[in-house]
Symmetry: C2
């Protein structure tokens, strides 16, 4: 792969030492080889020179929790409580998902994500071979896991676990290293304790991280206490979940002691503000988590509970709601919100050299069209990205130095075919 | 003006009796003359026939509180408390605004608003002749008022009030009726009581409504109590503000009794969720206001405290935050969020025949591009508009039957010239 040069660019690096650079960025293969105010040393033979005028370049966004195929259920059941929504609207429909439904649902979501500036995403779902193949195709980075629900007979539990292990083994490190895998008990309320222990054992055996939903609603916490005598954090700690590197989604209802436990084990929390608000789950204690040194990142959750996959919106929600709810206008300032969506996102899901623009980092970056009223004046581009931008401002996207989106058009996925197939899968499901 | 027909359209009417229509809409001059499943009676001589395939048509959005020229201060001072932000960042800069700054700042904001689907907006600011001329030019609907701050010597107060009255008189009903006016004491904390009384007298004399900021922060409420012995609602009631039709912006900190007073006088509340969260002012009691019959609408506030003018985002925030904060997932459902941005918005600012798509209503409507991943599947377009859409999905905009935006391009305003002039005004301001 030859070198690429972006010239006349404005780079919001998400690097604390040098946040905004006007100048040049050089990409050598899958890596950023130079970024700086001055032109790089002469003599390079560039395969492509990109004119960066009127563009803001920044790291690709990292979406640390989701269920991509659930785009098939976008708008199917709004304004309902989590348990009702799950049990009456989601689970009955999802039970009828075939692997082809998951394929096309996931492809549609990847199309939405990548065109909107997300370059890495976590996916916890079923029929994960389809998801992995979709990641191979799209060129995105995927941290994938077969989420298992244990509310079933032991032989079915066993089969699901075997399938999850097989998937994790088969795909870890594949797609030129863009795919990594995890093990995932769906949640403490959907997996009996002994089943969770078996999944933890498997994660040890495969040397992989764990991912689970945890403490999403007050009801979940209360039921966990009444069923097991422990709140979810102590329950999962007891079952050994935190003996592995671990990413929990939501973490809305946490007390001080629990935050201390998460910090002690370096458990990472995927904050899903849009989903938590929509399902009325509550507002996670993000400023407190950050103050205690817990790594926090952002997830959209599935499109059925969000209802879009716009990571700019999640960064903005994270910056806005914690101010409004705490009464502290300095809570989650723009620079932190950017980190949640980039550097801390990458760290939270164990991605190496991903999340910021600096020499030596992977060339995962995006461009935004600055030539628009809502990006004026040129007062503060960090502020504009967090408080004013949206997914639809993204014009170009690169992962591993490869361009995936050019002038708003996805180069790796066939948008028209995906939309058509998706529509036909949805019709079939609804005829059900 | 000849007739226009939109055929093969999908219409989200914001009319409670018939929310979604697939079919035809006919526009005769400035008015919707027909909307329905079947083609209108034959024989009409259409000046234009619009093919509505892949488009969702809905009423233009109504932004009931803002300060358009403040786009010049977008990104200048984030993550600060309201009083600090006002006193250290906004007022010193605003004091140096000339009428030309207001002209170009307002034009840039109108460009952002109209391209993003807002067709009517409230503006409270200074140099209002420039704002009114900008509304004449853009073709938008403007409810305009010279906001007066009374922290100045009596003769200056007097001059400001005379100017505000003159403006209100000169422009009410102008621009083919698209401009209406109000009188506006800026806030109880910036206007002494006797000055507010004089402004109320002027509103009676001119038979105009009143608009003011009220109960935006807990600090404001506490200071009002300590200075005047009354909370802001009782204070304004005593000064006669509610003896006129009245629109208050924010209304974040209200007790039950105060909500009762607002309901009794039919005072309208412009809810500004983005601004209130960003400035950490708090979360207004919108479900309680609605339950008591108070008319609530949505405002972006100025771009310096939001930081964009995307009314889709305000509708989504209104639908999301009240669920998350109350714990009730049925709070502010999508249908109500749509009303806040359309029908209730128009009613709140006394616009006649504006806010929904129905025969006899003004032809203020917009089109969204449905052929995008985040609008799939075709499960529930009301849900998609509230939970998934953004300003950038808007392709076409009409006000009074006149097309203002076509395929994303504003037909009435010169975008390149406005951006260039805006940049030069900003540079001049920052040079001081």
């Amino acid at each position: 792969m030859s070198k690429t040069l972006v010239k006349n660019g404005l780079f919001l690096t998400a690097d604390e030492t040098c946040p905004l650079i006007e100048g040049y960025m050089e990409i050598d293969g899958d890596t950023i080889s130079y970024i700086g105010k001055d032109a790089p040393a002469e003599g390079a033979d560039y395969g492509e020179i990109v004119d960066g005028r009127n563009r803001l370049y920044m790291p690709g966004l990292v979406n640390t929790h989701g269920h991509a195929a659930m785009s098939l259920l976008r708008g199917v059941g709004d304004d309902l409580a989590l348990q009702v929504w799950l049990q009456e609207k989601m689970w009955p429909n999802e039970a009828r998902f075939t692997s082809k439904d998951v394929k096309w649902g996931t492809l549609l979501s990847q199309l939405e994500m990548v065109k909107g500036g997300t370059t890495s995403f976590v996916d916890m779902y079923d029929h994960m071979n389809e998801v992995a193949q979709a990641v191979e195709l799209s060129g995105m980075r995927g941290v994938l896991t077969r989420g298992v629900i244990g509310l079933c007979p032991p032989e079915v539990q066993q089969a699901k676990l075997a399938e999850a292990k097989q998937f994790a083994r088969d795909w870890h490190g594949k797609a030129e290293g863009r795919i990594t895998t995890m093990m995932a008990p769906h949640a403490p309320y959907t997996c009996p304790p002994d089943y969770i222990e078996k999944i933890v054992d498997a994660a040890h055996e495969l040397d992989l991280p764990l991912h689970t939903h945890m403490s999403e609603t007050a009801r979940e916490v209360a039921e966990n206490e009444s069923e097991y005598g422990l709140r979810p954090v102590a329950h999962l700690e007891k079952l050994g979940v935190f003996s592995r590197p671990c990413l929990v989604a939501h973490g809305v209802h946490l007390n001080d002691e629990e935050i201390g436990v998460l910090a002690k084990y370096d458990v990472r929390v995927s904050h899903n503000p849009g989903s938590n608000l929509k399902l009325a789950s509550g507002v996670a204690r993000v400023p407190d988590l950050l103050a205690r040194g817990v790594k926090v990142s952002l997830g959209t959750d599935g499109a059925a509970s969000n209802n879009n996959l716009d990571m700019f919106e999640e960064m903005r929600l994270a910056a806005l709601i914690h101010k409004g709810v705490s009464g502290d206008p300095t809570a989650v300032p723009a620079a932190i919100a950017l980190q949640l969506g980039t550097t801390m996102g990458a760290e939270s899901i164990w991605l190496q050299k991903v999340g910021s623009l600096a020499a030596g980092m992977k060339a995962d970056f995006i461009a935004l069209d600055l030539d628009q009223p809502h990006f004026l004046p040129a007062s503060n581009y960090l502020s504009h990205v967090i408080y004013s931008a949206s997914a639809k401002d993204v014009t170009d996207v690169w992962v591993d130095g490869k361009q995936l989106v050019r002038k708003g058009k996805c180069l790796t996925l066939d948008e028209e075919k995906i939309k058509a197939e998706f529509k036909s899968r949805y019709s079939r499901l609804m005829e059900g």
